[in-house]
């Protein structure tokens, strides 16, 4: 659905994006990870047609971005980091004016508004000025605005930053529902690793370059390894395993490079592994291992 090849963009001496290539498949939830200034927003701005690229190609639905920008823009729905709706106008007025940008008006608009209001549960907010809504309510309206024209691709630029967990969950449920029902492709940038962990595919960029890519499982296997948590064992027994470990509240946490190594360890010492669990590394570990940097969840750019 989105194919980026050798994309580069510089601002003076600063190379914001350097020879970046990746693909987003149709219907996929694609997570784009990177610290502030890594080049995420520049890439998204190029995809949205708000910035010109220096070199490389961007294909949306198989068509080069520059070939028919108006048509391409009609396929994209974007939720910006900060709400860009008119604070002084009501929810209804905001959505009406934005729908008109896509030629949606009259009965067609009212029907779509009704669908979205029921889906995102904001029927009661239609007459309220956007500026008087809470953060979560405003986010719902931002998402509704992005979905007004049935986009094929939804771009979410840190959509849940600053929201309470309940609202985050609600929004993700809605996005998942629409994605599955309408086969919509979702490109997400986020600071929340648990959101990235739910993605179908993850790309990590740093300094404008692609550092790592793959499914969350592939990334975890490659960069984070596995963890064996051992309960009820004695420390002297754990020491005999001759592997690095850390003491936790009710047991010991042993890091192993991969699942096969864990299996081998268990089979070699079945007497020690009476009560244990095997867990994959977290996306935070992947990010740290891949970039050498820690991504602070929930911080606003």
């Amino acid at each position: 659905m989105i194919k980026i090849e050798n994309l580069s963009k510089s601002f003076g001496e600063i190379k914001a994006v350097h020879d970046l290539s990746f693909q987003v498949r149709e219907g996929e939830l694609f997570a784009f990870l990177g610290i502030n200034g890594a080049g995420k927003s520049t890439t998204i701005n190029i995809i949205c047609g708000q910035l010109s690229k220096d070199t490389g190609s961007v294909l949306i639905d198989g068509i080069p971005l520059e070939k028919n920008p108006a048509d391409t823009k009609g396929k994209l729905g974007v939720v910006f980091q900060k709400s860009v709706l008119d604070q002084a106008l009501s929810v209804y007025d905001n959505l009406q004016s934005r729908a008109a940008l896509y030629g949606i008006s009259g009965k067609e608009f009212k029907e779509r508004l009704s669908e979205l209001a029921s889906l995102l549960d904001f029927q009661d907010l239609l007459k309220r000025p956007v500026g008087k809504l809470s953060g979560g309510q405003r986010r719902k309206i931002d998402i509704a605005r992005a979905l007004l024209h049935h986009p094929k691709i939804l771009i979410l630029d840190e959509p849940t930053t600053g929201l309470d967990p309940q609202t985050r969950k609600l929004l993700w449920n809605v996005i998942e529902k629409i994605r599955k029902e309408e086969g919509m492709t979702v490109l997400l940038t986020t600071h929340y690793m648990e959101e990235a962990a739910d993605a179908d595919y993850v790309v990590i960029i740093d300094g404008g370059r692609l550092i790592a890519e793959g499914t969350p499982l592939e990334l975890k296997n490659t960069y984070a390894g596995d963890f064996l948590t051992l309960y009820g064992a004695k420390e002297e027994d754990v020491k005999t395993l001759e592997v690095p470990y850390e003491t936790i509240r009710n047991g010991y946490r042993i890091q192993v490079p991969h699942t096969a190594a864990a299996t081998q360890l268990i089979l070699q010492h079945p007497e020690i592994f009476e009560d244990y669990e095997l867990t994959k590394g977290k996306m935070d570990d992947v990010f740290l291992a891949a970039t050498g940097k820690k991504l602070e969840g929930g911080q606003e750019e």
Partner: protein, 299 residues
């Protein structure tokens, strides 16, 4: 067309919902009227009487009518421009608060956006300037009213043309602005300077010859002269009806800039309309071209 109409509606709604922007724009002409009537009416009156030849007397109501006409023409000539700049702040605010990004990710054309801002600003400014004109006419009705129905109609036509000019000028200037601070700075400069350079605060006939020549090139000077002509036409007609010498009436027209000279030749009213209209067309053209260039650069 649906998109353009929706954008115009949105822009006008935002302007009138933003109480700060709306009241600032509305109150400016009112403040000017109060300030003029309080501080400048006597100055205008004295300079008007000083221009009368000795032994020639004029009825009190006619003097007041002339002074009132001069006052309201100055206020309206300035307001059409300053209110347009104030109304057109929305264009910059949209850049500052990110709304423009929201528009630019949609398939709407840059030229449609530009025209949307222009028409919305024009309508908002006209609403305020027509209200101001109504209040100004009530004021002259109280002090001395000599305008005919045709003069009033032409005055409203002048306001329309000057507002189109102010909106086009502000559109071109605001195109280069992107922050609230820049809006405030430009607003302050325009409010404080425009009245002087268009001959509203002081008739350009009172300036040095060189400055007069420079100012006579500016379209705003001709706009002010048009408004002034239609506000004072009735007073001059009344003077002629009262058998004032033609030379005296002509001299008075010169003093209050009803006559503007370009290369020492008087400029006809029709030429003023043509010049101002052409300037509006050129400015709108520049504005649309700037938007198209910007949009192409982004691709």
């Amino acid at each position: 067309m649906t998109t353009l109409f929706a954008l115009i509606k949105r822009n006008i709604k935002l302007f009138f919902r933003d109480k700060g922007m709306f009241f600032t724009a509305l109150i400016t002409p009112m403040i000017l009227l109060v300030l003029y009537a309080t501080f400048l009416a006597k100055v205008y009156r004295d300079s008007f009487l000083a221009g009368l030849p000795q032994g020639l007397s004029m009825a009190e109501e006619l003097i007041n009518g002339c002074v009132g006409g001069q006052l309201i023409s100055s206020i309206l000539a300035v307001s059409c421009i300053t209110v347009a700049f104030c109304s057109n702040m929305l264009m910059v605010q949209d850049k500052a608060n990110g709304s423009l990004r929201d528009f630019s990710i949609s398939p709407v054309r840059a030229s449609t956006m530009a025209i949307g801002y222009y028409i919305a600003t024009l309508i908002s400014t006209l609403i305020i300037c027509f209200i101001a004109a109504g209040i100004c006419l009530l004021y002259t009705g109280k002090v001395g009213f000599y305008m005919s129905g045709k003069d009033v109609a032409l005055l409203f036509g002048d306001i329309l043309l000057l507002t189109m000019f102010g909106t086009a000028l502000s559109s071109v200037i605001n195109f280069f602005l992107s922050t609230q601070g820049q809006i405030s700075a430009v607003g302050s400069i325009v409010s404080s300077c425009y009245g002087f350079i268009c001959g509203a605060y002081m008739p350009i006939s009172q300036f040095s010859e060189g400055l007069q020549k420079v100012l006579s090139i500016l379209p705003g000077t001709h706009g002010t002269s048009l408004v002034r002509n239609h506000c004072l036409q009735g007073c001059f007609a009344e003077m002629e009806a009262q058998h004032f010498p033609k030379e005296v009436v002509d001299a008075m027209r010169d003093v209050v800039d009803c006559n503007v000279y370009f290369m020492d030749e008087p400029v006809a009213l029709s030429s003023m309309y043509l010049y101002l209209g052409a300037t509006v067309a050129v400015l709108i053209g520049i504005y649309v071209v700037l938007n198209v260039i910007k949009s192409k650069k982004a691709k």
